[in-house]
């Protein structure tokens, strides 16, 4: 099935995460009341469907922070890193406005502007709220959002509601101060540096109070948690329950990033990062409680563009400084954004209707494809598959995939699980060589990243990687090129079942 193209304004979907694979995802927000769904449907960070079409940007106007987290190094500044808290160019509110207007004119898919750091936005209230104030005047169609550690949230909850900021993300790693004392060495509170359990107690209290105040004011709240094995892994289910009870609409559990080279406490002290299996298990445990986000890419605080791509280098500070506000025709840009947005909505609506029709014609349920409808008995074991996808189709060459989307096929249906990043295995002759000048090193890393998967779906794959995958018990499959991802995953699952492969446990099959 080809993606429908509507007029000339159809988005050039692409960029880093170009999977439409999260296509099952609209249902993930189905439990939300209509007015909240309407608010999040264009938001790339909240809607898995939207993140393939709509772009976001962060402006780094908030350098100061009022707490220390053990996974953060305030000295860090590296343009090659893509992770929270890392940012290259600090902007004044005036520069930020220019940058946003320039980006929103150049990328009409832009719907969301966030302030996420590199410190805590609410520890920089003047710079943060000045940016929001000017933006809501000049680009009223852009949604505003802010991320915070929550310490100053109760103080600014009213101001947040006043600025029409409808999305707030609070990072809540614990509700138990004893757990918190292992994550936060200190906070700055009421003119003092406070340490240990006392610091964590105050932080937890302010976060919970802030969450209540925001939901009481109709502000959407998402909660981020960093999964830190051995520190808060067992605790996060309780956190998930509590924040849901207080009205958070999404819970995003992210893996700890702790590399020694980043110079963080956890990195230097060799605190283990969670495995993908640990992360998934926890996300599954929490999913029973509320909508979970699985497509989060842990963006930099100055990220620009679609999730998974970063167009930041096109909009550097020297380019912004050379720009006069008069150079940007924001009236025209506003109209263009509306056209593009309407076209995307039309496309999404049409896509949904087409899928429902196709499935109804096939005699199945109108929504997500369920394997049970296709003769796979309940109790059959599930299978993880990695997909090199583009725009919702199996359309990427194995060696060109920068990341794989991971799907789980089970009798209950096909479910998007998450992403795994790879080093580019084949970047053409100029870059081929990978680590140590050996392409095999990059291939080894890709194979390691796909651990646990039994199948890789891609449009094409070379002879050498094919063999390598097979020796690791991963079955490469290029037979479903250009088919919709979920249909392809289901077809392969049915094939495995028909061939009796699902009667064997995964390990035996992989060893066979």
């Amino acid at each position: 099935m080809d993606l429908p193209v509507i007029g000339n304004t159809a988005p050039a979907a692409g960029g880093g995460c170009s999977s439409g694979g999260c296509g099952a995802a609209p249902d993930a927000l189905a439990h939300l009341p209509d007015h909240i769904r309407a608010k999040v449907q264009d938001h790339p960070c909240y809607s898995e469907e939207a993140h393939h079409y709509f772009a976001r940007m962060h402006v780094a106007v908030a350098p100061a922070c009022n707490i220390q987290c053990n996974y953060c190094n305030r000295k860090y500044d590296c343009a090659n890193e893509s992770r929270p808290g890392v940012v290259s160019e600090l902007l004044s509110p005036g520069q930020a406005i220019k940058k946003v207007l320039a980006v929103a004119a150049a990328i009409p898919q832009m719907t969301v502007l966030g302030i996420a750091g590199p410190g805590d936005p609410l520890a920089n209230p003047a710079r943060t709220f000045e940016t929001f104030r000017q933006l809501s005047e000049r680009a009223p169609d852009i949604k505003l959002c802010v991320s915070t550690n929550g310490l100053n949230l109760p103080r600014y909850a009213d101001e947040i509601a006043r600025h029409n900021i409808d999305h707030v993300t609070i990072t809540i790693n614990c509700i138990d101060p004893d757990v918190g004392a292992k994550i936060y060495p200190w906070i700055f509170w009421q003119n003092r540096r406070i340490r240990g359990v006392e610091a964590a107690r105050i932080l937890v209290e302010q976060q919970q109070k802030g969450l209540e105040m925001l939901t009481a004011r109709g502000v959407l709240v998402k909660v981020n948690s960093v999964l830190i094995p051995g520190v808060n892994d067992r605790h996060l289910k309780e956190v998930s329950k509590r924040v849901k009870a207080k009205g958070a609409f999404l819970h995003n559990v992210m893996p700890l990033i702790a590399e020694a080279g980043h110079g963080t406490y956890y990195g230097l002290m060799r605190q283990p990062e969670p495995t993908t299996a640990q992360l998934r298990e926890l996300q599954d445990d929490c999913a029973g409680d509320m909508a979970m986000m699985r497509h989060c890419r842990q963006c930099r605080a100055d990220a620009v563009g679609l999730l998974g791509e970063d167009r930041g280098p096109e909009f550097t500070l020297d380019k912004i400084d050379r720009l006069a506000l008069g150079d940007i025709d924001y009236e025209t840009a506003l109209i263009r954004r509306k056209e593009v947005r309407d076209a995307i909505h039309g496309e999404l609506r049409q896509k949904r209707e087409q899928q429902q029709t196709l499935r109804r014609e096939a005699g199945g349920a109108p929504h997500a494809p369920a394997a049970a409808d296709h003769g796979i008995p309940a109790g059959t074991r599930s299978v993880l598959m990695a997909v090199a996808g583009k725009n919702g189709l199996v359309a990427e060459h194995f060696g060109h995939a920068r990341e794989f989307q991971i799907y789980e096929a089970s009798p209950g249906g096909v479910r998007f699980i998450g992403h795994r990043k790879t080093d580019l295995y084949c970047g053409g002759s100029a870059t081929c060589g990978g680590d140590d000048g050996r392409p095999e090193a990059a291939l080894d890393k890709t194979v390691a990243a796909l651990a646990g998967c039994e199948v890789v779906l891609c449009s094409k794959i070379g002879y050498e990687p094919w063999n390598k995958l097979e020796t690791h018990g991963i079955w490469p499959n290029g037979e479903h090129a250009l088919e919709p991802v979920e249909d392809a995953v289901l077809a392969v699952y049915r094939e495995l079942h028909a061939n009796g492969k699902l009667a064997l446990p995964a390990t035996e099959r992989q060893a066979a």
Partner: protein, 82 residues
């Protein structure tokens, strides 16, 4: 008497926002304390505010050059990590 900012400073602005005397200004390559205005917060607060919020060890020193936040005091990272 006045505190000083050293080259360990990462220009995060935190101190400038909490100084009760407006004694801290952004300079290149890093923020500096105006020693005419700095009172080390005596009479205002129990702790010098810049040193109480600064996230970087050894970035704020007293007149003797001694750091108010010595190595390991903020991050807990020992001098030679495991």
């Amino acid at each position: 008497m006045a505190l000083q900012i050293t080259q360990a400073c990462v220009n995060c602005w935190a101190c400038a926002g909490v100084c009760p005397n407006g004694a801290i200004a952004r300079e290149i390559p890093h923020f500096l304390v105006d020693d005419q205005k700095c009172t080390e917060c005596l009479g205002d607060y129990a702790e010098a505010q810049c040193a109480a919020i600064c996230p970087i060890e050894c970035a704020i020193v007293d007149e003797a050059g001694d750091p108010l936040n010595p190595p390991g005091s903020l991050t807990g990272i020992p001098a030679s990590p495991v």
